[in-house]
C-alpha cells in the first residue's frame, strides 16, 4: 500500500517546553533549574491557535513537539496533548505531534493512553551503553529506557532515540545505535553536548572520523528502510547526497533562524534550545509567532548565513553551517566556525 504523505511541503517546528519539572538530573542538561512556572492550561488554546495561524500564513504544516523537563509531569499534560492534537487535526490528517520525554512515567496505562493520540513519535535519550548512560543519569536508567523503547514499539508508537555526544561517550555510539535499533527504535540520531563554555571535547579530526564511520554503519540501516541520519549538521560533509537538491537555497543544516522555535514554560522564545544566547523574546498575543519568525531582528540576524566564518566560503553553506550552538559557546560569536568542522581546519 502506498504510504500517504503530508499535504503540505513546508514545515514549521515548535518545541514546546510545558514544564521544568523533571524526574532525571542528566549531567549534560541545558536546563539549570527544575523549578519555575508551568504552562498555564488557560494559555494553551491561544498559544496553539496562534502557532497554527502562523503556519497557515506560511502555508506550512505545523510540527509540534511537547517536552520539558518531563512533559508528562505537567499537571495538565493530557489536556494539553488533546488540545494540540485536536487543533492540528483541524489542519491536517498527517500525524505531526511528538513528545520528547523520559521513560519513568511510561507504564502500561500511560502508554495505552498515548497510543490513542497517533503520535508522530516519542523521543527518548540513550547517552552510552549501560555503565556510561547510568553515570550520566542514574543507576537503572539504561534498562528502564530500553524497556520503554520495547513497550512503546509494541504499542505501535514510533520511538526516536537521541544521544548527546561528548568526549566521554562518543566512542560507544556504534554499540548504542545497534542496541536501540535491536530493541525496536525507529530512528536514532545524535547531537553534540553544548556546555556552558568551551566545547564537547572531541578533537575535530577524531569527530570527522567518527561521523564517517558511524554514517557508513547507519547506511546499512537506511538500506533496510530506516530514516536517514541527518540531525548533526556536519554529517553533510560525509554524505554523498548532500549537494544538488536545490542549488542556492538553504536546504538543510542547522535550523537557527529557520522555521524552528522553542517556547519555554514561561513563554520565553528561543531560536534554539541548546544555544544559550538565542533568547529572542517572549510570546504574547501581540508579540506572536508570526512576528518572531518574520520580523524579530535576532531571527533575521541568524539568517545572515553568508557571514559565518569558515562556512561562507564552503560549498556546503546551504546544507550544513555546523552547529551554531556549539560554535557560540566555544567562541562567544554567532558567526564563528564550528570547532569540530574539519573542512574549516583545512581552509
Amino acid at each position: 500500500m502506498k504510504k500517504e504523505g503530508p499535504e503540505k511541503i513546508n514545515r514549521i517546528y515548535l518545541q514546546w517546553h510545558l514544564t521544568n519539572k523533571c524526574n532525571n538530573g542528566c549531567k549534560h542538561c541545558y536546563q539549570h533549574t527544575h523549578q519555575g512556572e508551568d504552562v498555564r492550561l488557560d494559555d494553551a488554546d491561544a498559544i496553539i491557535g496562534d502557532f497554527l495561524e502562523c503556519c497557515d500564513a506560511f502555508d506550512a504544516l505545523p510540527v509540534i513537539a511537547l517536552t520539558g523537563g518531563d512533559p508528562m509531569l505537567h499537571n495538565h499534560f493530557w489536556d494539553i496533548l488533546a488540545k494540540v492534537k485536536a487543533a492540528s487535526q483541524s489542519l491536517t490528517k498527517f500525524s505531526c505531534v511528538s513528545i520528547l520525554g523520559n521513560p519513568e512515567l511510561l507504564d502500561e496505562r500511560n502508554i495505552s493512553m498515548l497510543a490513542k493520540f497517533n503520535l508522530k513519535h516519542f523521543q527518548l535519550s540513550i547517552d552510552g551503553m549501560e555503565k556510561k548512560h547510568d553515570e550520566i543519569r542514574y543507576k537503572g536508567s539504561f534498562q528502564r529506557t530500553m524497556q520503554a523503547i520495547r513497550d512503546l514499539s509494541k504499542a505501535g508508537i514510533p520511538v526516536y532515540i537521541m544521544s548527546t555526544l561528548s568526549a566521554h561517550n562518543f566512542r560507544e555510539m556504534f554499540d548504542v545505535m545497534k542496541a536501540v535499533y535491536d530493541n525496536g527504535a525507529q530512528h536514532w540520531m545524535f547531537a553534540r553536548w553544548v556546555p556552558n563554555q568551551g566545547d564537547c571535547g572531541i578533537p575535530a579530526n577524531e569527530y570527522m572520523r567518527f561521523i564517517k564511520k558511524i554514517l557508513e554503519e547507519h547506511l546499512q540501516y537506511e538500506k533496510k528502510g530506516y530514516k536517514q541520519l541527518r540531525k548533526e549538521p556536519l554529517i553533510a560533509i560525509c554524505r554523498q547526497d548532500s549537494l544538488g537538491i536545490e542549488q542556492g537555497v538553504v536546504s538543510g543544516g542547522c535550523g537557527m533562524g529557520s522555521s524552528t522555535m522553542t517556547m519555554l514554560p514561561d513563554k520565553t522564545l528561543m531560536a534554539c534550545r541548546r544555544h544559550p544566547g538565542s533568547i529572542i523574546g517572549k510570546w504574547s498575543p501581540k508579540s506572536n509567532f508570526l512576528y518572531h519568525f518574520v520580523d524579530n531582528p535576532k531571527m533575521e540576524k541568524y539568517r545572515r548565513v553568508e557571514e559565518i566564518e569558515g562556512c561562507r566560503e564552503c560549498k556546503l553553506l546551504k546544507y550544513c553551517r555546523g552547529c551554531r550552538a556549539v560554535a557560540y559557546v566555544a567562541t562567544g560569536s554567532d558567526f564563528k566556525h564550528d570547532p569540530q568542522c574539519l573542512l574549516h581546519c583545512h581552509n
Binding site: 514545515r11 510540527v63 489542519l91 526516536y160 541527518r230 537555497v249 538543510g252 529557520s258
Partner: protein, 46 residues
C-alpha cells in the same frame, strides 16, 4: 477533508506577506521534500 472553522488571532500585513515569500524562496522554511535537513523534524514526516 472538512476543515473546522478557525478563530483568527493574527493579521498578516502586506509587508509580512512579502517577507514570507522571500523566506520560503530562500529555503528558510523547512521543505519536507528536501530530505537533506540537519534538524530532527525536517525530513521525518515523509
Amino acid at each position: 477533508m472538512q476543515k473546522k472553522k478557525k478563530v483568527k488571532y493574527i493579521k498578516v500585513t502586506n509587508d509580512q506577506k512579502t517577507k514570507i515569500r522571500d523566506l520560503v524562496a530562500k529555503g528558510f522554511v523547512f521543505n519536507g521534500k528536501a530530505r537533506v535537513c540537519g534538524h530532527c523534524d525536517f525530513s521525518c514526516g515523509d
